[in-house]
């Protein structure tokens, strides 16, 4: 019996292709939800901790790049001080792709808290959240527009639900 997942929107290769069109650099910590995206990314920098991914993206933006960071939701816990002390403080943009682990009943207990707390935490931080499940790949492009497309740059999170990106293999 197959496990419950959210509706699939695209494959990892399709997601990566759209990310490659907009991002000059991607950095992150591997996560099983996005594992099929990573092999297709151009300019991907694997990092040992999410806070470093945030800092790398900040440095890249200071150098006129358009970076994206990929992580699972628990990585927000590690990343938060860097996010507030760099992008928020200096008013620079960031596209942050976050997989929302722990939303589904069958997921492991260690993910459950983050599954229920991710959206409220981002709301508390007043960070713009774009729901990939609702907006699809257009939502990814909207994140880039929010982050880098205007006079005022912003942190924009694309929240990806389990199964939105093909996990079948």
């Amino acid at each position: 019996m197959s496990r419950e997942l959210y509706p699939q929107i695209c494959t990892g290769a399709e997601f990566a292709a759209e990310l490659n069109r907009r991002a000059t650099l991607t950095a992150g910590v591997p996560d099983s939800v996005i594992r099929q995206v990573l092999p297709h990314l151009n300019h991907y920098q694997a990092v040992p901790g999410e806070e470093h991914a945030i800092a790398i993206a900040f440095g890249a933006r200071a150098g006129h790049g358009c970076p994206a960071v990929l992580m699972q939701n628990s990585g927000l816990g590690r990343a938060l001080d860097a996010l507030l002390g760099l992008q928020r403080l200096y008013e620079t943009g960031l596209v942050l792709v976050v997989s929302n682990r722990g939303e589904l009943a069958w997921e492991e207990p260690q993910h459950q808290d983050w599954g229920s707390l991710t959206q409220p935490l981002l709301d508390l931080l007043e960070i713009e959240v774009v729901d990939f499940g609702q907006e699809g790949l257009a939502g990814l492009h909207r994140c880039f527009d929010l982050a880098y497309g205007g006079e005022a740059e912003r942190i924009a999170v694309l929240l990806v639900h389990r199964g939105n990106i093909d996990e079948s293999s």
Binding site: I56, F58, A60, G63, L89
Partner: protein, 149 residues
């Protein structure tokens, strides 16, 4: 050698580089004594100066990048040292074996940083104000390193 002398010697060694200074006294005293548009002064995010420098280097691979850390900062961000060595990226650590910004609490142990240049400095600080506002720092730095200019 005190902090000012150490920083001045690093600046002299890399006259055309982009600089990232870690938060705390390194940013404060450099902004106070040597403020320049090619300096990115971090005000927070302890431990992340090296990773910021890595991102800058990846965005502008032809530019020389210098990161000036403190030992407390380098210790907190030690896992970022896996990015070293990186051609054209220089990582300096000013070592005074303490958290001087917060009152001089000792740092008893430091790991080896084989690809960083550690400079022992005397304990001691000067009265220095907070660096300029972050928006001003970023605007000046981005203008300086605009690849179109």
């Amino acid at each position: 050698m005190n902090r000012r002398e150490a920083i001045e010697s690093i600046l002299d060694r890399h006259p055309k580089a982009a600089f990232v200074f870690c938060n705390g006294l390194n940013s404060r005293e450099t902004a106070h004594r040597f403020k320049a548009p090619n300096h990115l002064y971090l005000l927070h995010a302890m431990g992340e100066a090296l990773a910021v420098g890595v991102g800058l280097k990846l965005a502008q691979p032809d530019r020389e990048v210098v990161v000036v850390d403190g030992d407390g900062n380098a210790l907190m961000g030690a896992s970022a040292s896996v990015f070293l060595p990186m051609a054209g990226l220089h990582h300096y650590i000013l070592v005074n074996r303490g958290y001087e910004t917060t009152g001089g609490q000792p740092i008893d142990r430091l790991p080896d940083f084989p690809y960083s240049q550690c400079i022992e400095i005397e304990v001691g600080k000067i009265a220095s104000p907070n660096p300029p506002p972050p928006r001003e720092i970023m605007r000046g730095f981005r203008e300086w390193c605009d690849p179109g200019t």
